[in-house]
Symmetry: C2
Subunit: 305 residues, 2 copies
Protein backbone atom coordinates (compact mmCIF):
# COMPACT_ATOMS: atom_id res chain seq x y z
CA UNK A 1 0.00 0.00 0.00
CA UNK A 2 2.33 2.72 -1.28
CA UNK A 3 2.13 6.23 -2.64
CA UNK A 4 3.60 6.50 -6.13
CA UNK A 5 5.16 9.92 -6.76
CA UNK A 6 6.15 11.19 -10.19
CA UNK A 7 8.00 14.41 -10.96
CA UNK A 8 11.39 16.01 -11.37
CA UNK A 9 14.47 14.86 -9.50
CA UNK A 10 16.99 17.65 -9.91
CA UNK A 11 19.93 19.65 -8.75
CA UNK A 12 19.19 23.21 -7.69
CA UNK A 13 21.29 26.32 -7.27
CA UNK A 14 19.54 28.64 -4.82
CA UNK A 15 20.27 32.07 -3.45
CA UNK A 16 18.17 33.60 -0.66
CA UNK A 17 18.92 36.55 1.64
CA UNK A 18 20.33 33.95 4.05
CA UNK A 19 22.92 32.38 1.78
CA UNK A 20 23.73 30.66 -1.47
CA UNK A 21 24.13 27.02 -2.47
CA UNK A 22 25.49 26.32 -5.95
CA UNK A 23 24.27 22.76 -6.28
CA UNK A 24 22.09 20.65 -4.04
CA UNK A 25 19.50 17.91 -4.33
CA UNK A 26 16.11 19.24 -5.39
CA UNK A 27 13.15 18.65 -7.69
CA UNK A 28 9.42 18.32 -6.99
CA UNK A 29 9.49 14.51 -6.81
CA UNK A 30 12.31 14.64 -4.27
CA UNK A 31 10.51 17.06 -1.96
CA UNK A 32 7.12 15.35 -2.26
CA UNK A 33 8.64 11.94 -1.56
CA UNK A 34 10.71 13.02 1.41
CA UNK A 35 7.73 14.75 3.01
CA UNK A 36 5.33 11.88 2.31
CA UNK A 37 7.80 9.29 3.61
CA UNK A 38 6.97 10.29 7.20
CA UNK A 39 3.41 9.03 6.71
CA UNK A 40 3.50 6.16 4.21
CA UNK A 41 5.74 4.04 2.00
CA UNK A 42 6.73 5.98 -1.15
CA UNK A 43 7.73 4.80 -4.64
CA UNK A 44 9.46 7.29 -6.92
CA UNK A 45 9.07 7.67 -10.68
CA UNK A 46 11.69 9.98 -12.17
CA UNK A 47 14.80 10.31 -14.27
CA UNK A 48 18.37 11.34 -13.43
CA UNK A 49 21.71 11.48 -15.26
CA UNK A 50 24.89 9.62 -14.52
CA UNK A 51 26.02 12.58 -12.39
CA UNK A 52 23.39 11.74 -9.78
CA UNK A 53 25.35 11.28 -6.56
CA UNK A 54 25.26 8.16 -4.44
CA UNK A 55 24.77 10.25 -1.29
CA UNK A 56 21.56 11.68 -2.79
CA UNK A 57 20.24 8.20 -3.59
CA UNK A 58 21.23 7.24 -0.08
CA UNK A 59 19.24 10.07 1.47
CA UNK A 60 16.08 8.94 -0.34
CA UNK A 61 16.76 5.29 0.50
CA UNK A 62 17.28 6.22 4.15
CA UNK A 63 13.63 7.30 4.19
CA UNK A 64 12.73 3.85 2.76
CA UNK A 65 11.68 5.38 -0.54
CA UNK A 66 11.51 2.79 -3.35
CA UNK A 67 13.87 3.92 -6.14
CA UNK A 68 13.05 1.14 -8.63
CA UNK A 69 11.23 3.71 -10.80
CA UNK A 70 14.10 6.22 -10.76
CA UNK A 71 15.58 5.79 -14.23
CA UNK A 72 19.31 6.49 -14.64
CA UNK A 73 20.50 7.43 -18.12
CA UNK A 74 23.70 8.83 -19.60
CA UNK A 75 23.88 12.62 -19.40
CA UNK A 76 23.25 15.27 -16.80
CA UNK A 77 20.50 15.53 -14.23
CA UNK A 78 17.94 18.36 -14.57
CA UNK A 79 19.49 21.58 -13.19
CA UNK A 80 17.60 24.66 -12.02
CA UNK A 81 18.98 27.82 -10.45
CA UNK A 82 17.15 30.80 -9.04
CA UNK A 83 17.46 33.78 -6.72
CA UNK A 84 14.86 34.96 -4.21
CA UNK A 85 13.86 38.56 -3.51
CA UNK A 86 14.66 40.17 -0.16
CA UNK A 87 11.23 39.28 1.30
CA UNK A 88 11.35 35.87 -0.46
CA UNK A 89 7.90 36.38 -1.98
CA UNK A 90 9.35 36.43 -5.51
CA UNK A 91 12.03 34.46 -7.24
CA UNK A 92 13.86 34.83 -10.53
CA UNK A 93 14.94 31.79 -12.49
CA UNK A 94 18.57 32.07 -13.61
CA UNK A 95 19.05 28.67 -15.26
CA UNK A 96 16.81 25.84 -16.43
CA UNK A 97 18.82 22.99 -17.98
CA UNK A 98 16.34 20.18 -18.60
CA UNK A 99 19.16 17.78 -19.59
CA UNK A 100 17.97 14.14 -19.32
CA UNK A 101 14.58 15.36 -18.06
CA UNK A 102 13.80 16.59 -21.60
CA UNK A 103 13.27 12.97 -22.69
CA UNK A 104 11.43 11.81 -19.57
CA UNK A 105 8.82 9.21 -20.45
CA UNK A 106 7.71 7.64 -17.20
CA UNK A 107 7.51 3.85 -17.24
CA UNK A 108 6.27 2.29 -14.03
CA UNK A 109 7.89 -0.86 -12.67
CA UNK A 110 5.45 -3.75 -12.45
CA UNK A 111 5.13 -3.60 -8.65
CA UNK A 112 4.12 0.11 -8.83
CA UNK A 113 1.11 -0.49 -11.06
CA UNK A 114 -1.35 -1.87 -8.54
CA UNK A 115 -0.64 0.69 -5.81
CA UNK A 116 -3.70 2.59 -4.55
CA UNK A 117 -2.20 6.09 -4.12
CA UNK A 118 -0.46 8.41 -6.56
CA UNK A 119 0.69 11.98 -6.65
CA UNK A 120 1.54 13.53 -10.01
CA UNK A 121 4.08 16.31 -9.51
CA UNK A 122 4.24 19.30 -11.81
CA UNK A 123 5.29 17.87 -15.21
CA UNK A 124 3.81 17.87 -18.73
CA UNK A 125 0.11 16.99 -18.38
CA UNK A 126 0.35 14.19 -20.98
CA UNK A 127 3.07 12.52 -18.91
CA UNK A 128 0.92 12.82 -15.78
CA UNK A 129 -1.87 11.19 -17.75
CA UNK A 130 0.42 8.40 -18.90
CA UNK A 131 1.35 7.57 -15.30
CA UNK A 132 -2.28 7.39 -14.31
CA UNK A 133 -3.05 5.05 -17.23
CA UNK A 134 -0.31 2.71 -16.05
CA UNK A 135 -1.92 2.47 -12.61
CA UNK A 136 -5.07 0.39 -12.91
CA UNK A 137 -5.72 0.05 -9.24
CA UNK A 138 -5.32 3.70 -8.24
CA UNK A 139 -7.98 4.75 -5.75
CA UNK A 140 -6.77 8.21 -4.72
CA UNK A 141 -5.00 10.51 -7.11
CA UNK A 142 -3.62 14.00 -6.54
CA UNK A 143 -1.53 16.28 -8.68
CA UNK A 144 0.02 19.67 -9.18
CA UNK A 145 0.46 21.89 -12.21
CA UNK A 146 1.76 25.38 -13.04
CA UNK A 147 1.17 28.53 -15.13
CA UNK A 148 3.10 27.20 -18.12
CA UNK A 149 0.85 24.13 -18.56
CA UNK A 150 -2.30 26.15 -17.82
CA UNK A 151 -1.45 28.68 -20.51
CA UNK A 152 0.22 26.60 -23.22
CA UNK A 153 -1.08 23.03 -22.71
CA UNK A 154 -4.62 23.78 -21.59
CA UNK A 155 -6.42 21.05 -23.56
CA UNK A 156 -4.01 18.35 -22.38
CA UNK A 157 -4.20 19.64 -18.84
CA UNK A 158 -8.01 19.62 -18.80
CA UNK A 159 -8.04 16.06 -20.13
CA UNK A 160 -5.59 15.04 -17.41
CA UNK A 161 -7.10 16.64 -14.29
CA UNK A 162 -10.58 15.38 -15.23
CA UNK A 163 -9.89 12.18 -13.29
CA UNK A 164 -8.13 13.57 -10.23
CA UNK A 165 -9.34 13.48 -6.65
CA UNK A 166 -7.15 16.43 -5.66
CA UNK A 167 -5.64 19.31 -7.55
CA UNK A 168 -3.07 21.25 -5.48
CA UNK A 169 -2.12 24.66 -6.86
CA UNK A 170 -1.50 28.17 -5.59
CA UNK A 171 -3.97 31.05 -5.67
CA UNK A 172 -2.64 32.71 -8.82
CA UNK A 173 -2.73 29.36 -10.66
CA UNK A 174 -6.32 28.80 -9.48
CA UNK A 175 -7.30 32.21 -10.81
CA UNK A 176 -5.51 31.57 -14.10
CA UNK A 177 -7.05 28.14 -14.60
CA UNK A 178 -10.60 29.25 -13.75
CA UNK A 179 -10.48 32.74 -15.20
CA UNK A 180 -12.15 34.18 -12.10
CA UNK A 181 -10.68 36.15 -9.22
CA UNK A 182 -12.91 35.03 -6.33
CA UNK A 183 -11.35 31.89 -4.84
CA UNK A 184 -14.66 30.26 -3.95
CA UNK A 185 -16.00 30.77 -7.46
CA UNK A 186 -12.63 29.70 -8.92
CA UNK A 187 -12.86 26.50 -6.88
CA UNK A 188 -16.38 25.79 -8.15
CA UNK A 189 -15.29 26.22 -11.76
CA UNK A 190 -12.22 24.04 -11.29
CA UNK A 191 -14.13 21.27 -9.52
CA UNK A 192 -16.58 21.32 -12.45
CA UNK A 193 -13.54 20.43 -14.64
CA UNK A 194 -13.22 17.15 -12.78
CA UNK A 195 -11.07 17.32 -9.62
CA UNK A 196 -13.20 16.36 -6.62
CA UNK A 197 -11.26 18.71 -4.35
CA UNK A 198 -9.14 21.78 -4.90
CA UNK A 199 -6.37 22.66 -2.47
CA UNK A 200 -5.08 26.21 -2.75
CA UNK A 201 -1.65 26.90 -1.31
CA UNK A 202 -1.26 30.51 -0.16
CA UNK A 203 2.32 30.56 1.10
CA UNK A 204 2.67 32.52 4.35
CA UNK A 205 -1.13 32.92 4.42
CA UNK A 206 -1.77 29.19 4.76
CA UNK A 207 -3.98 26.97 2.66
CA UNK A 208 -7.59 26.24 1.76
CA UNK A 209 -9.34 23.07 0.68
CA UNK A 210 -12.58 23.11 -1.28
CA UNK A 211 -14.79 20.05 -1.68
CA UNK A 212 -18.39 19.41 -2.67
CA UNK A 213 -19.66 20.00 0.88
CA UNK A 214 -17.76 23.16 1.76
CA UNK A 215 -14.31 24.42 2.53
CA UNK A 216 -11.55 24.28 5.13
CA UNK A 217 -8.92 26.92 5.78
CA UNK A 218 -5.80 27.06 7.91
CA UNK A 219 -3.51 30.05 8.47
CA UNK A 220 0.22 29.78 7.80
CA UNK A 221 2.70 28.74 10.48
CA UNK A 222 4.80 31.60 11.74
CA UNK A 223 8.37 30.42 11.26
CA UNK A 224 11.17 32.07 13.23
CA UNK A 225 13.02 32.45 9.97
CA UNK A 226 12.41 31.33 6.39
CA UNK A 227 15.80 30.21 5.09
CA UNK A 228 14.75 28.87 1.71
CA UNK A 229 11.18 28.43 0.48
CA UNK A 230 12.24 26.14 -2.39
CA UNK A 231 10.19 22.95 -2.28
CA UNK A 232 7.72 24.16 0.36
CA UNK A 233 4.71 23.68 -1.95
CA UNK A 234 5.90 20.19 -2.87
CA UNK A 235 6.43 19.29 0.78
CA UNK A 236 2.88 20.49 1.39
CA UNK A 237 1.70 18.06 -1.30
CA UNK A 238 3.80 15.26 0.19
CA UNK A 239 2.43 15.82 3.70
CA UNK A 240 -1.13 16.08 2.39
CA UNK A 241 -1.13 12.95 0.20
CA UNK A 242 1.20 11.03 2.50
CA UNK A 243 -1.16 11.52 5.43
CA UNK A 244 -4.21 10.41 3.43
CA UNK A 245 -2.34 7.34 2.17
CA UNK A 246 -1.10 6.55 5.67
CA UNK A 247 -4.67 6.74 6.96
CA UNK A 248 -5.76 4.26 4.26
CA UNK A 249 -8.37 6.67 2.89
CA UNK A 250 -10.53 5.05 0.21
CA UNK A 251 -13.20 7.19 -1.47
CA UNK A 252 -14.56 4.00 -3.07
CA UNK A 253 -15.99 3.21 0.37
CA UNK A 254 -17.80 6.56 0.73
CA UNK A 255 -16.96 10.27 0.89
CA UNK A 256 -13.78 11.20 2.75
CA UNK A 257 -14.51 12.69 6.18
CA UNK A 258 -14.06 16.47 6.18
CA UNK A 259 -12.02 16.30 9.40
CA UNK A 260 -9.54 13.88 7.75
CA UNK A 261 -9.19 16.28 4.82
CA UNK A 262 -8.61 19.16 7.23
CA UNK A 263 -5.92 17.21 9.06
CA UNK A 264 -4.27 16.39 5.73
CA UNK A 265 -4.13 20.11 4.93
CA UNK A 266 -2.57 20.80 8.33
CA UNK A 267 0.01 18.01 7.89
CA UNK A 268 0.76 19.51 4.48
CA UNK A 269 1.26 22.90 6.11
CA UNK A 270 3.49 21.36 8.78
CA UNK A 271 5.73 19.73 6.17
CA UNK A 272 5.90 22.92 4.09
CA UNK A 273 6.93 24.87 7.18
CA UNK A 274 9.75 22.46 8.09
CA UNK A 275 11.04 22.58 4.51
CA UNK A 276 11.67 26.34 4.77
CA UNK A 277 13.80 26.05 7.90
CA UNK A 278 16.97 25.00 6.06
CA UNK A 279 18.37 25.14 2.55
CA UNK A 280 17.02 22.57 0.11
CA UNK A 281 16.21 19.19 1.63
CA UNK A 282 18.58 19.70 4.60
CA UNK A 283 15.81 19.74 7.18
CA UNK A 284 14.82 16.18 6.25
CA UNK A 285 18.17 14.80 7.33
CA UNK A 286 17.20 15.23 10.99
CA UNK A 287 13.41 15.71 11.03
CA UNK A 288 11.45 13.18 13.09
CA UNK A 289 7.79 12.19 13.13
CA UNK A 290 7.70 13.35 16.74
CA UNK A 291 8.66 16.89 15.68
CA UNK A 292 5.98 16.74 12.98
CA UNK A 293 3.27 15.74 15.42
CA UNK A 294 4.41 18.39 17.88
CA UNK A 295 4.03 21.07 15.22
CA UNK A 296 0.64 19.64 14.24
CA UNK A 297 -0.44 20.19 17.85
CA UNK A 298 0.97 23.73 17.70
CA UNK A 299 -1.40 24.35 14.78
CA UNK A 300 -4.26 23.19 16.99
CA UNK A 301 -3.17 25.57 19.74
CA UNK A 302 -2.83 28.70 17.62
CA UNK A 303 -6.07 28.09 15.67
CA UNK A 304 -8.39 26.96 18.48
CA UNK A 305 -10.94 29.31 20.01
Amino acid sequence: MSLVVVGSVAYDGVETPHGKVDRMLGGACTYISLAASYFTQVKIVGIVGDDFAQEDSDLLASREIDLAGLERVPGKTFFWAGVYSQDMNDRTTLTTDLNVFANFDPKLPEHYRNQPYAFLGNIQPALQHSVRRQMNGVRLLGGDTMNFWINDFRAELLETIRHWDFLLINDSEARLLSGVNHLGQAAEKIMAMGPKSLIIKRGEYGAMLFHSQGYFAVPGYLLEQVFDPTGAGDCFAGGFMGYLAGEGVDPGKGPIDAKILGRAVVYGSVMGSFCCERFGVERFRTLTRKEIDRRFEEFRTFTSF
Copy 2:
Protein backbone atom coordinates in the same frame (compact mmCIF):
# COMPACT_ATOMS: atom_id res chain seq x y z
CA MET B 1 -20.52 49.02 31.97
CA SER B 2 -20.13 50.53 28.51
CA LEU B 3 -17.57 50.72 25.75
CA VAL B 4 -16.57 54.29 24.93
CA VAL B 5 -15.67 54.70 21.26
CA VAL B 6 -13.90 57.74 19.85
CA GLY B 7 -13.19 58.48 16.21
CA SER B 8 -14.54 60.04 13.06
CA VAL B 9 -18.23 60.26 12.24
CA ALA B 10 -18.38 61.12 8.57
CA TYR B 11 -20.09 61.06 5.24
CA ASP B 12 -18.43 58.91 2.59
CA GLY B 13 -18.58 58.78 -1.18
CA VAL B 14 -17.57 55.31 -2.33
CA GLU B 15 -17.15 53.66 -5.69
CA THR B 16 -16.48 49.93 -6.02
CA PRO B 17 -16.81 47.61 -9.03
CA HIS B 18 -20.33 46.91 -7.76
CA GLY B 19 -21.63 50.45 -7.66
CA LYS B 20 -21.28 53.99 -6.49
CA VAL B 21 -22.78 55.93 -3.60
CA ASP B 22 -22.19 59.70 -3.53
CA ARG B 23 -22.89 60.28 0.13
CA MET B 24 -23.62 57.87 2.95
CA LEU B 25 -23.01 57.58 6.67
CA GLY B 26 -19.44 56.48 7.45
CA GLY B 27 -16.43 57.13 9.68
CA ALA B 28 -14.42 54.83 11.92
CA CYS B 29 -16.40 55.69 15.06
CA THR B 30 -19.66 54.88 13.28
CA TYR B 31 -18.50 51.45 12.09
CA ILE B 32 -16.82 50.51 15.37
CA SER B 33 -19.89 51.51 17.36
CA LEU B 34 -22.39 49.75 15.16
CA ALA B 35 -20.37 46.52 15.22
CA ALA B 36 -19.72 46.68 18.98
CA SER B 37 -23.38 47.43 19.73
CA TYR B 38 -24.27 43.77 19.14
CA PHE B 39 -22.16 42.78 22.15
CA THR B 40 -22.24 45.63 24.65
CA GLN B 41 -23.62 49.10 25.35
CA VAL B 42 -21.68 51.74 23.38
CA LYS B 43 -21.06 55.44 24.04
CA ILE B 44 -19.83 57.57 21.14
CA VAL B 45 -17.34 60.45 21.26
CA GLY B 46 -17.24 62.38 18.00
CA ILE B 47 -18.09 65.56 16.17
CA VAL B 48 -20.52 66.33 13.33
CA GLY B 49 -21.74 69.42 11.51
CA ASP B 50 -25.25 70.82 11.30
CA ASP B 51 -25.74 68.82 8.09
CA PHE B 52 -25.74 65.55 10.04
CA ALA B 53 -29.04 63.91 9.18
CA GLN B 54 -31.65 62.87 11.71
CA GLU B 55 -31.99 59.46 10.04
CA ASP B 56 -28.29 58.81 10.67
CA SER B 57 -28.62 59.74 14.34
CA ASP B 58 -31.66 57.50 14.41
CA LEU B 59 -29.76 54.53 13.02
CA LEU B 60 -27.14 54.82 15.79
CA ALA B 61 -29.83 55.35 18.42
CA SER B 62 -31.72 52.30 17.15
CA ARG B 63 -28.69 50.24 18.21
CA GLU B 64 -28.97 51.87 21.68
CA ILE B 65 -25.74 53.77 21.18
CA ASP B 66 -25.33 56.68 23.58
CA LEU B 67 -24.93 59.89 21.55
CA ALA B 68 -24.35 62.26 24.47
CA GLY B 69 -20.68 62.56 23.41
CA LEU B 70 -21.47 63.30 19.77
CA GLU B 71 -20.83 67.03 19.53
CA ARG B 72 -22.85 69.02 16.96
CA VAL B 73 -21.33 72.26 15.74
CA PRO B 74 -22.05 74.70 12.91
CA GLY B 75 -20.45 73.67 9.63
CA LYS B 76 -20.14 70.54 7.59
CA THR B 77 -19.50 66.95 8.70
CA PHE B 78 -16.18 65.30 7.73
CA PHE B 79 -16.44 64.07 4.13
CA TRP B 80 -14.28 61.40 2.50
CA ALA B 81 -14.53 59.97 -1.00
CA GLY B 82 -12.59 57.16 -2.60
CA VAL B 83 -12.62 54.63 -5.40
CA TYR B 84 -11.60 50.96 -5.14
CA SER B 85 -9.55 49.00 -7.65
CA GLN B 86 -11.14 46.17 -9.65
CA ASP B 87 -9.99 43.51 -7.13
CA MET B 88 -10.77 45.90 -4.23
CA ASN B 89 -7.32 45.39 -2.68
CA ASP B 90 -6.40 49.03 -3.30
CA ARG B 91 -8.25 52.28 -3.00
CA THR B 92 -7.57 55.82 -4.09
CA THR B 93 -8.74 58.75 -2.01
CA LEU B 94 -10.51 61.36 -4.14
CA THR B 95 -11.59 63.83 -1.46
CA THR B 96 -10.80 64.44 2.20
CA ASP B 97 -12.72 67.42 3.59
CA LEU B 98 -12.03 67.47 7.33
CA ASN B 99 -14.59 70.25 7.86
CA VAL B 100 -15.69 70.37 11.53
CA PHE B 101 -13.44 67.38 12.28
CA ALA B 102 -10.39 69.66 11.88
CA ASN B 103 -11.18 71.21 15.27
CA PHE B 104 -12.17 68.00 17.05
CA ASP B 105 -11.16 68.17 20.70
CA PRO B 106 -12.90 65.26 22.42
CA LYS B 107 -14.57 66.16 25.70
CA LEU B 108 -16.21 63.25 27.48
CA PRO B 109 -19.57 63.70 29.18
CA GLU B 110 -19.40 63.08 32.91
CA HIS B 111 -21.14 59.69 32.72
CA TYR B 112 -18.57 58.41 30.18
CA ARG B 113 -15.57 58.98 32.42
CA ASN B 114 -15.93 56.04 34.75
CA GLN B 115 -16.64 53.43 32.07
CA PRO B 116 -14.29 50.43 32.06
CA TYR B 117 -13.85 49.91 28.29
CA ALA B 118 -12.61 52.21 25.55
CA PHE B 119 -11.63 51.94 21.94
CA LEU B 120 -9.66 54.78 20.39
CA GLY B 121 -10.33 54.88 16.65
CA ASN B 122 -7.77 56.15 14.20
CA ILE B 123 -7.34 59.88 15.03
CA GLN B 124 -4.43 62.11 16.04
CA PRO B 125 -2.48 60.26 18.78
CA ALA B 126 -2.60 63.26 21.13
CA LEU B 127 -6.40 63.25 20.93
CA GLN B 128 -6.48 59.52 21.66
CA HIS B 129 -4.27 60.22 24.66
CA SER B 130 -6.59 63.00 25.83
CA VAL B 131 -9.56 60.63 25.79
CA ARG B 132 -7.68 58.09 27.87
CA ARG B 133 -6.72 60.78 30.40
CA GLN B 134 -10.37 61.69 30.81
CA MET B 135 -11.24 58.08 31.68
CA ASN B 136 -9.91 57.37 35.14
CA GLY B 137 -11.60 54.04 35.59
CA VAL B 138 -10.65 52.49 32.24
CA ARG B 139 -9.63 48.85 32.64
CA LEU B 140 -9.37 47.67 29.02
CA LEU B 141 -8.18 49.96 26.27
CA GLY B 142 -7.74 49.27 22.59
CA GLY B 143 -6.93 51.49 19.67
CA ASP B 144 -6.10 51.82 16.01
CA THR B 145 -3.69 54.03 14.08
CA MET B 146 -2.43 54.47 10.52
CA ASN B 147 0.63 55.16 8.32
CA PHE B 148 0.27 58.92 8.58
CA TRP B 149 0.57 58.98 12.39
CA ILE B 150 3.31 56.33 12.37
CA ASN B 151 5.41 58.36 9.95
CA ASP B 152 4.73 61.95 10.95
CA PHE B 153 3.60 61.80 14.61
CA ARG B 154 5.81 58.97 15.82
CA ALA B 155 6.78 60.44 19.22
CA GLU B 156 3.18 61.30 20.10
CA LEU B 157 2.03 57.90 18.91
CA LEU B 158 4.61 56.03 21.00
CA GLU B 159 3.64 58.05 24.07
CA THR B 160 -0.01 57.19 23.41
CA ILE B 161 0.11 53.45 22.72
CA ARG B 162 2.39 52.87 25.69
CA HIS B 163 -0.66 52.39 27.88
CA TRP B 164 -2.85 50.31 25.60
CA ASP B 165 -4.00 46.75 26.12
CA PHE B 166 -4.62 46.22 22.39
CA LEU B 167 -3.25 47.81 19.27
CA LEU B 168 -5.18 46.84 16.13
CA ILE B 169 -3.45 47.59 12.84
CA ASN B 170 -2.87 45.94 9.49
CA ASP B 171 0.29 44.08 8.42
CA SER B 172 1.87 46.95 6.50
CA GLU B 173 1.31 49.29 9.46
CA ALA B 174 2.87 46.71 11.81
CA ARG B 175 5.91 46.51 9.56
CA LEU B 176 6.13 50.29 9.34
CA LEU B 177 5.81 50.82 13.08
CA SER B 178 8.33 48.12 14.01
CA GLY B 179 10.74 48.52 11.11
CA VAL B 180 10.90 44.74 10.61
CA ASN B 181 9.29 42.56 7.98
CA HIS B 182 8.72 39.34 9.95
CA LEU B 183 5.32 39.62 11.64
CA GLY B 184 6.34 37.69 14.75
CA GLN B 185 9.40 39.86 15.27
CA ALA B 186 7.35 42.97 14.43
CA ALA B 187 4.86 41.94 17.12
CA GLU B 188 7.62 41.50 19.70
CA LYS B 189 9.03 44.94 18.98
CA ILE B 190 5.61 46.57 19.10
CA MET B 191 4.62 44.87 22.35
CA ALA B 192 7.91 46.13 23.81
CA MET B 193 6.59 49.65 23.04
CA GLY B 194 3.76 49.07 25.52
CA PRO B 195 0.67 47.42 24.01
CA LYS B 196 0.03 44.12 25.78
CA SER B 197 -1.39 42.56 22.62
CA LEU B 198 -1.08 43.28 18.95
CA ILE B 199 -3.87 42.35 16.55
CA ILE B 200 -2.87 42.31 12.90
CA LYS B 201 -5.70 42.59 10.36
CA ARG B 202 -4.81 40.91 7.07
CA GLY B 203 -7.93 41.55 4.98
CA GLU B 204 -8.97 38.50 2.97
CA TYR B 205 -6.22 36.50 4.70
CA GLY B 206 -7.77 36.85 8.13
CA ALA B 207 -6.19 38.10 11.34
CA MET B 208 -3.56 37.31 13.96
CA LEU B 209 -3.32 38.17 17.63
CA PHE B 210 -0.02 38.25 19.47
CA HIS B 211 0.25 38.28 23.24
CA SER B 212 2.94 37.54 25.79
CA GLN B 213 2.20 33.79 25.76
CA GLY B 214 1.97 33.18 22.02
CA TYR B 215 -0.25 33.88 19.06
CA PHE B 216 -3.60 33.07 17.53
CA ALA B 217 -4.49 33.12 13.85
CA VAL B 218 -7.73 32.80 11.92
CA PRO B 219 -8.17 32.68 8.14
CA GLY B 220 -10.49 35.10 6.40
CA TYR B 221 -14.16 34.33 5.77
CA LEU B 222 -14.89 33.57 2.15
CA LEU B 223 -17.68 36.00 1.25
CA GLU B 224 -19.86 35.26 -1.76
CA GLN B 225 -19.20 38.80 -2.89
CA VAL B 226 -17.40 41.79 -1.40
CA PHE B 227 -19.59 44.78 -2.22
CA ASP B 228 -17.69 47.45 -0.34
CA PRO B 229 -14.75 46.88 2.04
CA THR B 230 -15.07 50.39 3.56
CA GLY B 231 -15.25 50.10 7.34
CA ALA B 232 -14.38 46.38 7.51
CA GLY B 233 -11.30 46.99 9.68
CA ASP B 234 -13.30 49.23 12.01
CA CYS B 235 -16.07 46.64 12.25
CA PHE B 236 -13.38 44.11 13.14
CA ALA B 237 -12.29 46.40 15.97
CA GLY B 238 -15.89 46.85 17.09
CA GLY B 239 -16.56 43.12 17.16
CA PHE B 240 -13.28 42.44 18.95
CA MET B 241 -13.61 45.07 21.69
CA GLY B 242 -17.38 44.73 21.90
CA TYR B 243 -17.10 41.00 22.59
CA LEU B 244 -14.44 41.50 25.31
CA ALA B 245 -16.54 44.23 26.93
CA GLY B 246 -19.68 42.09 26.72
CA GLU B 247 -17.82 39.24 28.44
CA GLY B 248 -16.81 41.60 31.26
CA VAL B 249 -13.11 40.91 30.73
CA ASP B 250 -10.95 42.52 33.41
CA PRO B 251 -7.17 42.10 33.17
CA GLY B 252 -6.88 43.59 36.66
CA LYS B 253 -8.16 40.22 37.88
CA GLY B 254 -5.48 38.20 36.04
CA PRO B 255 -4.35 37.55 32.46
CA ILE B 256 -7.10 37.27 29.85
CA ASP B 257 -7.73 33.68 28.80
CA ALA B 258 -6.20 32.93 25.38
CA LYS B 259 -9.43 31.26 24.23
CA ILE B 260 -11.41 34.44 25.02
CA LEU B 261 -8.92 36.47 22.98
CA GLY B 262 -9.24 34.00 20.10
CA ARG B 263 -13.02 34.25 20.18
CA ALA B 264 -12.76 38.04 20.18
CA VAL B 265 -10.62 37.85 17.02
CA VAL B 266 -13.20 35.58 15.40
CA TYR B 267 -16.09 37.89 16.38
CA GLY B 268 -14.04 40.73 14.92
CA SER B 269 -13.63 38.75 11.70
CA VAL B 270 -17.36 37.98 11.63
CA MET B 271 -18.28 41.67 11.95
CA GLY B 272 -15.74 42.68 9.30
CA SER B 273 -17.17 40.11 6.91
CA PHE B 274 -20.77 41.31 7.37
CA CYS B 275 -19.68 44.89 6.78
CA CYS B 276 -18.43 44.04 3.27
CA GLU B 277 -21.74 42.51 2.17
CA ARG B 278 -23.45 45.84 1.46
CA PHE B 279 -22.45 49.43 0.80
CA GLY B 280 -21.41 51.44 3.83
CA VAL B 281 -23.35 50.66 7.00
CA GLU B 282 -26.32 49.19 5.12
CA ARG B 283 -25.80 45.65 6.43
CA PHE B 284 -26.31 46.87 9.99
CA ARG B 285 -29.88 47.92 9.28
CA THR B 286 -30.97 44.28 9.23
CA LEU B 287 -28.15 42.29 10.88
CA THR B 288 -29.14 40.25 13.94
CA ARG B 289 -27.12 38.71 16.74
CA LYS B 290 -28.44 35.32 15.60
CA GLU B 291 -26.81 35.80 12.18
CA ILE B 292 -23.57 36.82 13.90
CA ASP B 293 -23.51 33.71 16.07
CA ARG B 294 -24.33 31.52 13.09
CA ARG B 295 -21.34 32.90 11.21
CA PHE B 296 -19.16 32.46 14.30
CA GLU B 297 -20.10 28.76 14.20
CA GLU B 298 -19.27 28.69 10.48
CA PHE B 299 -15.77 29.84 11.41
CA ARG B 300 -15.56 26.90 13.79
CA THR B 301 -16.64 24.51 11.05
CA PHE B 302 -14.22 25.68 8.39
CA THR B 303 -11.23 25.91 10.74
CA SER B 304 -11.70 22.69 12.79
CA PHE B 305 -9.64 19.60 12.10
